[in-house]
C-alpha cells in the first residue's frame, strides 16, 4: 500500500488508480482522462477482506467487489441495505468487477461530459475537461456534474467511516467528509492518498431500504437514489430515529439528518413528511442526465422517501 501511495504521490495528477476498472476504463476509452500511468492496486494485500463483530461492526476492504459484499453472510443478515444497494449498481458484470472502494470514489457524471470524443467536438471544453464553462447550467461559474454512486447513500445512512492511507500512515474520517461537493473532482483524495477500507457501526435494530430511480432495471446510474435507515417502534408507532442518504441529485451524495422538529413529533406520517421535505429541499437535480427532467426527479425525492419509509416499516413488521 505504501508503495502505491508513494508512486501515486510521485506521479501526481499524471497517475490514476485502477482497481476493478469499471469507472476508469470508459473514461479512458472516451479520452476523458489521459493518464500517463495507471497504478493497479489489485495486488495490494489484505484489501479484499470483510470482517464483522458485534462490538466493532463491519469492516470492508476497498478491493472487495460489490458482488462479494452483497453475498457475504453477515452483510446479508446484519446490513441488508448494503446488499440491496450493491445489487442495484450497474449490472451483474459491473458488480463482479467493480469494488466498493472504486464505487465510493467514482467520478461524477454529466451527459455533456461523458461523451465519446467525436460527439464532444461541437462543445467547448467544460470545467470538468479543464475548460471555462458548464453546458448543463449555462452561465454557471462551477461544474455541476452529478455524483451518481449507489453505495454512498446507503453507507451515509448507516453512518459509515472510511480509512485513508497516505503511505506513511492512515486516518479515518466520516464518509461524508470524503466528498468535496465539486463536480469536477467529487472526492477529496489528493494524489498519494488511497481509500483503504470502510467501517460500518454495529446495527442497532435499525431497518434500511434503498430505492433507486432509473429507466431500466439494470445498467443505469441512479437518476435518484434514496437510502432510508430508520429505527422503528417509537411511541404510538412513530420513528425513534431516521437517516436518509441521497444520490443522483447533487454534486455529492447527501446525508439528510432529521430536523429538530421531528423529535417533537410523535406521528409517523408527520415525521415522514418532514424527512421527505427535508430531502427534497436539499436535492438539486439538473438537466444533465439521459433520464427524466429535473422537475420530475426533484418531485420524486419526497415520493421516494415516503416509499422508502413505508417499505422499511414493512420489513420491520415482517421481522416482528
Amino acid at each position: 500500500m505504501s508503495e502505491a501511495c508513494k508512486t501515486a504521490f510521485g506521479e501526481g495528477p499524471k497517475a490514476q488508480i485502477i482497481a476493478g476498472g469499471t469507472d476508469i476504463l470508459p473514461a479512458l476509452k472516451y479520452r476523458l482522462k489521459t493518464p500517463g500511468i495507471l497504478i493497479d492496486i489489485s495486488s495490494v494485500p489484505d484489501l479484499d477482506t470483510i470482517t464483522y463483530s458485534e462490538q466493532e461492526g463491519l469492516t470492508v476492504g476497498a478491493l472487495v467487489t460489490l458482488r462479494r459484499l452483497a453475498a457475504h453472510k453477515d452483510v446479508r443478515e446484519k446490513y441488508p441495505l448494503l446488499t440491496q444497494a450493491a445489487l442495484s449498481v450497474g449490472s451483474a458484470q459491473l458488480q463482479a468487477m467493480g469494488t466498493i472502494g472504486g464505487n465510493l470514489c467514482q467520478d461524477a457524471c454529466c451527459i455533456y461530459y461523458n461523451l465519446p470524443s467525436v460527439s464532444r467536438q461541437g462543445l467547448d471544453p467544460c470545467f470538468k475537461l479543464g475548460g471555462g464553462r458548464c453546458h448543463a447550467v449555462q452561465g454557471s461559474k462551477i461544474c455541476h456534474a452529478t455524483y451518481s454512486g449507489d453505495m454512498a447513500p446507503a453507507l451515509l445512512a448507516l453512518r459509515a467511516c472510511v480509512t485513508i492511507a497516505d503511505g506513511t500512515g492512515e486516518n479515518t474520517i466520516p464518509l461524508n467528509e470524503l466528498y468535496s461537493g465539486r463536480g469536477e473532482a467529487p472526492h477529496v483524495l489528493e494524489p498519494g492518498r488511497i481509500l483503504k477500507g470502510i467501517q460500518v457501526p454495529p446495527p442497532f435494530h435499525n431497518v434500511g431500504i434503498y430505492v433507486k430511480m432509473r429507466i431500466r432495471k439494470s445498467i443505469d446510474y441512479p437518476l435518484l437514489g434514496v437510502a432510508v435507515n430508520l429505527l422503528p417502534n417509537g411511541k404510538d408507532g412513530a420513528l425513534k430515529d431516521i437517516l436518509v442518504g441521497l444520490t443522483g441529485v447533487e454534486k455529492s451524495p447527501l446525508l439528510i439528518t432529521p430536523p429538530d422538529e421531528i423529535k417533537d413529533t410523535y406521528e409517523l406520517e408527520k415525521q415522514t413528511e418532514i424527512m421527505a421535505q427535508a430531502a427534497r429541499s436539499k436535492a438539486h437535480p439538473i438537466a444533465n442526465t439521459s433520464g427524466y427532467s429535473p422537475r420530475y426527479r426533484r418531485e420524486m425525492v419526497s415520493v421516494y422517501v415516503r416509499q422508502g419509509v413505508l417499505q422499511a416499516l414493512e420489513i420491520a413488521a415482517g421481522r416482528g
Binding site: I111, L115, G122, K217
Partner: protein, 788 residues
Amino acid sequence: MANTDLDSVEQYDAIGTSPDRSDAKSKATGRAVFIEDMHFRGMLYGKVLRSKFAHARILSIDTARAEKMPGVRGVVTGADIPVLHGEALKDDCFLARDKVRYRGEGVAAVAAVDEETAEEALSLIDVCYEELPAVFDPEEAIKPEAPLIHEQLGAYRHAPGIEPISGTNICNYFHLEKGDVDKGFAEADLIIEDKFTTGMQQHCTLETHCGICLIDDDNRLTLWATNDSPYRTRKEIADALKIPQINVRVICAPYIGGNFGGKGGLKAEAAAIALAWKIRNKPIRVLFTREEEFTSAIVRHPSVIYLKTGVKKDGAITARAVRMYFATGAYAEKGPTITRFGGVSGAGPYNIPNVKIEASCVYTNRQLSGAMRGYSGPQAAWAYESHMDNVACKLGIDPLEFRLRHVYTDGDTHASGQEIYSEGLKECLEKIGERMEWGKKSLGRNRGKGVACMERAVKTPFGSAAFVKVNEDGTVDLLSSTTEVGQGADTVLCQIVAEELGVPFDWVKKATPDTSTTPYDTSTTSSRSTFHMGNAAKAAAADAKGQILKLAAELLKTNADDLAIKGGNVYLKDNGGSSLSIAQVLGKHFGHSATVLGRGFYYPHLEVPVEYFSTHMIFWLLGAHGVEVEVNRQTGEVKILKVYAAMDVGKALHPSNCTAQLEGGVSMGLGFALYENFIFRGGDFLNPSLLDYKIPTALEMPEIEPIIVECAHEEGPYGAKGIGETTNVSLPPALANAIYDAVGVRIHELPITPEKILYALKQVSEKKTQQRADADPATVGNPFGGKK
C-alpha cells in the same frame, strides 16, 4: 383466397417442424465468422473525420499534415470521388462535398496501417467551415423560410413514382385518395382529430457497420460487407461509379450480427469505397464505432402524424384524412419509399369508404433516417391505433369491438384500391381478445388492458432467384443471396429445399451470398425472404427433383410420375419397397462426376401496372398486440403485467423461430414505446452510447404470450408469408391504450415516460377538480384524483 394445396392433409417432413437453427451451434460456440474476424494480407484501416456542424459550407480541407504522418497510406475527401449514390433518390455523397448537412457526416477519411494511426491522423486534417442556419423539425423544414438543405434536389436522379418537390425540403410527396373525404366528413355525426409524434430509434445491432473494399487498377471492385442485400448494393455502387455491374463483386461475411433494416445501403461501405477508389490494390477496412452507429449510420424516421376521422353515432366510420411527415435527415436514404409505405397504410387496416392520405418525406439537418424494422409501420400504427381508441372512447364503444367491426377481411377494398385477400388480421385480434378475456376479466385498480393491430406492405414487386446444387452423395447446396442476419432465413430456406426435394434437413446447406456465385435477390428486407426466396428455392428444388426422378425413371424403367423422393431415396409411389438413393441414381448415370442443378426464380405478378414500388402488395404483414399494465399514480411508472403478441404468418414453417420473432419484436417495441430517445441540444447529440441510449435489457422483458395465426397465402411457399419485420409495430399503441384504460390519460408523443404520465394525470385531476369546484365551490380536490 383458399390455398388448395393446403386443404389436403399432406404430412410434411421438414415444414412445420423446428429443427435447431443451422447457425445456432456455430454462434453459441463462438466459431461463427463475422466480418471483424476477416483479415487480409496488407489490409489498411480507415477512419472518418466527421462534421461538427449540423449545416455548414466547407470552405477548405487541408489534408497535407495528415498525409505526411508515418503509417498513413492516404487521405480522401469528397473531391476525390465526386459522384452521388442512393436507392430511390440519388442525393448522397460518399464523403461530403461543398457542404455538410448533419453533425457526424463524413468529411474526409484516412487509411493507415492500423486504426490508431488513422484516428490520430484525423486530428491533423484542417477543415474550414462557414456555419449555415440549420433546421431539425420536419414541420419547420417545410416552411417557405426554412433553410434549403439540398439546393440541387430538382436535378437529382430518382426512381419512377418518387416525387421530390424542387426548391423545398420535401424529397418525396405521396398521396392517395379513395372515395370522397369531403362528402364522408359531411355525413359524419362526429369528427375527431388527433396529432401524434414519434422520435428517433436506432437498431443497436450487436455488430456495427463494416465494409472492406479493394479496387484494382482496372476498376474492378470487391466489397466484403455486413450488408443485408448484396445485389442492391452492387447496383448502387455500379450506378454511382459508372462501372459495369460485372466489375463489382459484393461478398457477404458468413454471418451478419443483426440487421433490423440497418445494414442496407452504403454506410461504412461508403468510406471504404471512397478510400479504395483513391488507394488502389489494397483492401481497406472501415469499421464503425458504436458512436458512429448513432451519429452516422441510420435511425428510424421521426414523424408527425395528423389524423381526422368522421363517424356516425352508431360507430360507422365515414371518412378519414391523414397527413404524415417523416423526417428523413440530411439525405433521402430510404425515406421516399418509407413515406410511400407509411402513406399506403396511413389510415390503418380498416375498411373506410372515404380516405385521403398525404405523406411527405422531409429533409432535416439530422443523421440519416432509413429502414428499420417496420419501415414506417411503427410510426403509422402509433398514430392510427392510438386514434382508434380515442375515437372508440368518444363514441362509447369498446375499442376491440370497434376494431373488429372495421378491420379488413377478404373481399374488402384497401385504401390503395387493391382487393384484400389472405387477411388473418381479424383472427389475430379475436385470438388476443380470447386470451386476454377481453370484456370479462377485470384487472383491478390502476390496471388496464389495451389492444392494437397493424398492417404493413411487403415491398412489391421484386424478384428472387436460387440455385440448388445436388452433390454426388445426395447432399445439397442452396445458392441464394438472402443474407442470414439473425432472422433465421438460412434455416427456413434449407427446410423448404429439404421438403421439396425429399432429403433430410441436415443434408442441405445454404451458401454465403456472393454476387459472383449466388444468384440474384433484390434484398433481405421487408420480411420478403421466406415468401420470395422461399418460392425461388422451392422452385429450384422442384427443378432438381424433376431431373433426378427422370434419371431414376430410366434406371427403374418406369415413369417419373410414379416416383417420389423421401429421406434422400427415390422410391416407387405405390410400392415403397424398392428404392435407390440419390447418390446411386447419379452414380449409375454419371460415374463419379455427377451433379444436378436446379434453378428457381420468383417474381410476383400483379394485375396493376407498376412503375417501381407498387401500392398493391403480394401480401400484407398483419399482426396485433394486447397489453396489460399497472400504473403507479404517485410516480407515473408503468408496470407491464403481460403482453400478447399475434401475427398472421400464413404458415409457420419453423414455429419456434416464429415465436422467437414475436418475442424479439416485443423487446424492440417496448424500447420504442418506453425508453429509447435521442437527446439533442441544437445540433449536438448527447447520448450516443448504449449506456445513455436505453434499449431494454432482459430484465425489462415482460411475460409474453405468442400467438401464431395461420391464414394461408395461395402463392406462399406452403402458404407462408413473412413475420420478422413487424412483430414490434403495434406494441406501443397497445401499451398506450392500456395506460388509458388504467388511468385515463392519453399520451400522444413517444416515448411514454413516467413523467409524461404523471403530469397528464395531474392535468386530468386538476380539470376534474376545476369541474367539481365549478359545480360545488366548497369541494377541495386531492391532486392524485381524490382517492388514496
